[in-house]
Amino acid sequence: MNPTMSGLDDLYREVILDHYRKPCGGEALENPTIEVDGHNPLCGDDLRMQIEIADGRIKKLHIEPQGCSISVASASMLAKQIEGMTMEEALELKTAFQGVLKGGDWPEGIDFGDLEALEGVKQFPVRIKCALLAWMTLEQALAQYCPGAIGMVDEDRDIEIHAHTLQEKTEEPA
């Protein structure tokens, strides 16, 4: 069977392999507001995430992903996509992206950037959790930083992620 027929071409698109080989968000932050460790106990993938928040926006983000190509690529795309977003926008993107992976359509009016390349994961149900690790970790990070923002958080998790905040700094009021 050729790769196209088997869906492998859809899964391992070039954009995904590019992100996997050279993930975005490589540079460690000097002044992170939040640091969180995401871990997927089902497959052992790990993700450390640092976020710098200023004026309610995600100013900078650093990831140290360790896992399969799908989880690394998804984390890298997250890093690329959410810099500059407000926390609400980031969570909205997370919810929308999760909806798509669970079988929904791509909603209009949201810029998914390279994330659209992860469409093929839908054909590989056991790999959806890989694509979601970064997003669950982000959600945990923001939830711990700002419990108020969590009205937006989708409690219905189909994967288990243990995240704990390593260090948490409250922002100086501007």
């Binding site: 069977m1 790769p3 360790q66």
Partner: protein, 449 residues
Amino acid sequence: MSDDNHSEDQMLNTTSTEPAVTGSVSVHEETGAPAAEAGLDVSRIKQDFPILQRQIFGRRLVYLDNAATSQKPQCVIDAISDYYSGYNSNVHRGVHTLASEATSAYEDAREKIAAFINGDDPKSIIFTRNTTESINLVAHSWGRKHLFPNDEIVLTAMEHHSNIVPWQLLAKDVGCKIRVLDITDDGYLRLDQLNELLNEKTRLVALTQVSNALGTINPVRQIADAAHERGALVLVDGAQAMPHDTVDVEAMGADFFACSPHKALGPTGVGVLWARRDLLEEMDPFLGGGEMIRDVSFERSTWAAVPHKFEAGTPSIADVIGMGAAIDYLTSLGMENVRAHEQAIITYALERLRELPFISIYGPRNPEDRCGLVSFNDVDIHPHDLGTVVDRHGVAIRAGHHCAKPLMTRLGLVASARASFYVYNDMEDVDAFVDALYEARKVFGLPTT
């Protein structure tokens, strides 16, 4: 491993309902490798397993995740459905015909598994749900009674979580300590450290007979002798041993032996604990309820005799009966033949994998020190990606930490891929598996030399 048990008699008498055992050695046409079928007629065996007719993404299913659970032959499936359609009834409580048929089939299965592992007393066999429950039973019913603060339990660095966590729970409750026998980088137990580790405080040595993540076959007898010398008992996790070789609980020096027949052609839902009868007699019950009592009043209850004391409630009757059929099937193949077959396959698989410069292999180099499984990684591809790609080529392998995280940490790995073989696998399956590893390189645009 002697193969003299496939006598001519047996060869001539094989009928279509019996699994196939032959004495011929054939040569695989394409690879020229000697076929592993010395002793087992794999092409006939394959026909006994309906699931092997399945196509996965248009490919023949090559099932190499046997260490997780094996496939089931038609005779096992039939035994379960015959019970439900012919004599379904509860056991040990009823005078009607169905109850007596069900009870005798259930107790027959107990005798079969006892004979299979050479535990001569069927009353020493307790049915549980799986190896995990068997080990928990020992931790609960023996451990809580016999372990005290500062007592020590010795485990090894290659244990499955099911032979770690029950002891941790126990250690936390009673305040005893866990000590760990390390391994070498190539996956052998550090026997040189054994004497240092054992002392007068050691109460139990709990170890796996065969590692599910490395394939290493451990020298259980030697370790049991050392433990017994110090007055400690020995629990053997036989989950990966019992399906693949002749097991003799007496000869290996086990005091407790746990296994999971679902890895040995049997159904899920039934596990086995064998223990020395004298130990069982004085152990407390595990679960309380029906079937396990002699007498009950609101003031006090007394326990049924061993083994029923440990089998509270309605057991998994159909699955126990199905397990009996699986044991019959394996027995007619001959466990020496099963072992010889897997040796030939793993030898060939290691050879083929060693040809691939992009594959690292874990565990013993010498195939004789291994059961029929191999853990490995493609140095450039994460094992989950590898698992996904080979699956699309019909090849089912395992990827992950194999429920042995301390071992993975010890080896400096996060995860690995694992191929594990059984009676229905042949050299062509190994070739299909290796071909699929090449395909994965292509998907990732990586060189194959």
